[in-house]
């Protein structure tokens, strides 16, 4: 019933996870293993692209919360980009903009990674 898929691609210096469909308790494990793989490979510059994401539940939100600390402890970040107004509202109600950087466009997020690395 829940249609969901994701794809991971290189966009140096970042890895981009493209989300597609419904992210809920059934499909959240897929996102979780994608994050886990990236962390195992020590890729800590992660952008999540929400352009094709239709819906996210509390289980989906929980996945981000599970990895953010580890990623940030390794000088990386999970930046969120391309949300539809509806999906953004879900994040906004919870106050996620205070905790995560949310951009309209994937390139803005990527640029932020480039900038922060050139400074650091």
């Amino acid at each position: 019933m829940s249609q969901f898929s994701l794809m991971v691609r290189e966009s140096p210096p970042t890895q981009v996870i493209d989300l597609n469909g419904y992210l809920d308790a059934h499909t959240a494990p897929q996102l979780e293993s994608a994050f886990q793989d990236l962390v195992n490979e020590q890729r800590y510059n992660i952008i999540v692209n929400f352009r094709d994401l239709v819906y996210i539940s509390s289980a989906g939100l929980g996945v981000f919360m599970a990895f953010i600390e580890d990623v940030r402890n390794n000088n990386g970040d999970i930046k969120l980009a391309g949300m539809s107004p509806k999906v953004y509202n879900v994040f906004d109600l919870l106050g996620f903009p205070m905790l995560y950087e949310i951009y309209e466009d994937e390139q803005q997020a990527r640029q932020k990674f480039i900038d922060s690395h050139s400074i650091g």
Binding site: A25, S58, A59, L61, G62, V63, M65, A66, E69, K86, L93, L94, G95, M98, L99
Partner: protein
């Protein structure tokens, strides 16, 4: 006339008619009465038939009437075995009758028709012969008629009926026609001859239906062969004896009606014996095969029946092992059932088989090198290993050995449930027939195993459902039974989980300054885990509220308590609204929860003060981002709190109700001046109309506060 296979007939068994004892008594009594009549009233030993008065004529018919009634409505034979027993009774009765009459014949019995007897003794002997015949014939006739009616259909049903009717007719004729004892009765009258001839033809036709002996056991067929072989001459002897003049005179002088009757019956008996003899002879070559086939069918039928009774694996295994040994003449059988940890062997209690022998048999090598067990698993077919060595053991002092083994995979569709093993003492194991039986048994065992599993799973599920129902009940009790009501405000509140239990709740807390506050919360997730956390959150919030005097404080303290309490991904949303009665105001703080819907002066809008969800971040971030809104109301205004189950309610086409639609509904209802319950109805109905029957996917909570 109706078809003998009519169900009602079957179930009735007997229709009302004279009992056997009564029938025989009637004949015996008639015998006495007639003797008495002859001796006393007619003053002679024997009244001549030409001198019969009406009474004397009808007396025998009266005595025979019960017999005729019984013949017209014979007992129904219900199965082949009963038919077999009926035939045996028939033959035995015939033997006994023949023997008795033969013995009596040897004694002096001087009796010719119409003449006076030479002595009292001879007279008595003659009369006794008569009685024996008169009692024996109805029995034999009845059993013959029962056999003729067994499993009879269509034309044969009609013929069987006709046979009895003609018999009755023959009796009547025999009694009413004045013919003389010493003449050949049948030929003396055309009608009688015709009826007699017809009866014999019918008797032959009906006795040919001997299919009932097909399914008897071999030894029963042999018994039939023997009995019919002896019965043939016995019937012949009887027949000849009864044609003897003096015997005839002795026997039939009292009831001449029985004379032609006896001829027909005895000749019919002759036909029946002849046919049974030939049929039994022809059935012998296939008797063994049929016995085996029937045994197999019985085994499988037994197992199918026991299948529904055995729910426990051990019972099932015991039954399966016993039946396998029965049906294939195996000396031992055992079953390996696949579980997560591997295959568990079940040996059952009998026959006792040492584990090492079973191991050796299962590991017997096949010609292609694999063990018989492995081969069966890979080919998914029954494999047989012959001439297996090293499989002897001592049991109660006797040496036992199993030299061949069959491994039968238990398959249900594609799933392999285990393996059935059967072992024999013979070197050359199992023949094709036995393998077919093993396969059939294996199928049944597989079904039984799955059946048992399903039943246990179903029972477990039922138990869990019951527990869920109890949990649901308890969770409903965690919600406040009664919402506070004051002159200046009323509150309606409700919460529905999406499944049986859920993670939403609402509550009323009392702050340290004794003011009341509404709390509405949504714990991450759904179902049982969310329900557990909901209980925890409610407890924490209740405990903390006594030390707070503002919603912001309550949320901040709750966040400290909850942050890290479960794990990184868990969180909760909450809105807390302190009720300030005196100024008709609400002080609202929001921790990540849905905005509050306010309807003031007929206009609907959302209140969405800043605030992170609970347990997402530590106090530094949480407190820094938390705000409080104080909102003043007037009479007739509403404050509506809800959880995301409402705006996320889905319609059939997948679209969501949305936040905006809530504004419209609330404004419209407010314009009508509804009370709190009325506002709730308006919202619920609007969502139901939108959803068009689509069930809710998230927990839904709705709290309406109306100022008055």
């Amino acid at each position: 006339m109706h078809d003998q296979l009519d169900i009602s007939d079957r179930q009735a068994g007997h229709s009302p008619r004279p009992g056997l004892a009564f029938t025989l008594m009637a004949i015996a009594i008639t015998w006495l009465v007639i003797m008495g009549y002859d001796a006393i009233l007619a003053g002679t030993w024997q009244v001549s038939p030409e001198d019969y008065g009406v009474f004397r004529l009808l007396l025998p018919l009266l005595g025979l009437a019960p017999m005729v009634l019984r013949l017209l409505k014979p007992d129904i034979i219900t199965d082949d075995r009963e038919a077999y027993k009926t035939f045996i009774r028939l033959t035995v009765a015939n033997f006994i009758m023949a023997a008795v009459i033969a013995i009596l014949q040897l004694l002096p019995n001087s009796y010719t028709a119409g003449a006076t007897p030479g002595s009292y003794f001879g007279f008595l002997v003659g009369r006794t012969m008569g009685l024996v015949t008169m009692l024996g014939l109805p029995l034999i006739a009845e059993w013959i008629v029962r056999l003729f009616h067994y499993r009879v259909r269509g034309i044969f049903s009609i013929l069987a009926r006709l046979y009895v009717i003609l018999l009755a007719g023959l009796l009547l004729l025999g009694e009413l026609l004045p013919f003389r004892m010493n003449e050949q009765t049948l030929e003396s009258n055309i009608v009688a001859a015709a009826i007699g001839g017809g009866l014999l033809a019918l008797g032959l036709a009906l006795s040919i239906r001997s299919g009932w002996l097909m399914n008897l056991r071999k030894r029963q067929k042999l018994a039939l062969l023997g009995l019919s072989f002896l019965g043939f001459p016995a019937a012949t002897v009887m027949h000849l004896m009864l044609r003897d003049d003096s015997a005839r005179g002795a026997i039939f002088s009292l009831m001449p009606a029985l004379a032609p009757f006896s001829t027909v019956i005895l000749l019919t008996l002759l036909f029946v014996h002849m046919v049974i003899f030939i049929s039994a002879l022809l059935a012998l070559p296939t008797a063994d095969a049929i016995d085996r086939r029937n045994d197999e069918v019985t085994s499988l039928a037994n197992f199918a029946r026991l299948l529904t009774k055995s729910l426990e694996t051990e019972d099932l295994v015991e039954t399966a092992i016993a039946l396998t040994c029965d049906a294939t003449a195996a000396s031992a059988a055992w079953i390996g059932i696949r579980e997560e940890e591997g295959e568990t062997m079940h040996y059952g209690d009998t026959p006792k088989l040492p584990a090492h022998v079973a191991e050796r048999l299962m590991k017997a090598r096949m010609p292609r090198g694999a063990t018989v067990a492995a081969q069966a698993l890979s080919s998914r077919r029954t494999e047989v290993a012959e001439r297996v060595g090293d499989t002897a053991w001592e049991e109660n002092g006797t040496r036992r050995e199993l030299r061949s083994v069959a491994a039968v995979p238990l398959l249900l569709g594609e799933e392999l449930l285990g393996t059935l093993y059967a072992a024999k003492e013979r070197d050359d194991g199992f023949d094709r027939e036995e393998i077919v039986v093993l396969n059939a048994l294996a199928d049944q065992i597989a079904v039984a195993l799955v059946h048992s599993r399903l039943i246990h799973a179903s029972m477990e599920r039922k138990r869990l459902e019951q527990e869920m129902m109890i949990a649901r009940d308890l969770q409903q009790r965690l919600l406040p039974k009664v919402m506070p009501e004051r002159p200046c405000y009323e509150i309606h509140a409700e919460s529905q989980p999406a499944s049986i239990v859920g993670g939403d709740y609402y509550d009323v807390v009392r702050f340290s300054d004794n003011t009341l506050a509404l709390v509405i919360a949504d714990v991450a997730g759904k179902g049982a885990s969310a329900a557990l956390y909901m209980g925890m959150v409610k407890g924490i919030v209740q405990a903390l509220s006594g030390r707070c005097n503002s919603p912001g404080e309550l949320l901040a303290r709750s966040n400290v308590a909850l942050h890290g309490a479960i794990d990184q991904r868990w969180f909760a949303t909450m809105t807390c609204a302190q009720i300030i009665e005196e100024s008709r105001a609400l002080r609202i703080s929001r921790a990540g929860h849905c905005p509050t819907l306010l309807v003031r002066n007929g206009k609907a809008a959302f209140s969405r003060p800043n605030g992170l969800g609970l347990a997402i971040a530590g106090p530094e971030l949480f407190d820094a981002n938390l705000s409080v809104e104080e909102i003043a109301f007037h009479e007739g205004d509403y404050a509506i709190f809800f959880s995301d189950g409402l705006p996320e309610a889905r319609s059939i086409d997948g679209s969501e109700f949305g936040f905006e639609a809530l504004l419209d509904v609330a404004a419209e209802a407010a314009a009508r001046g509804v009370d709190a319950h009325g506002m709730r109805d308006a919202i619920v109905e609007a969502i139901e109309r939108f959803a068009q029957g689509e069930p809710p996917t998230d927990d839904s909570t709705l709290v309406v506060l109306r100022w008055r």
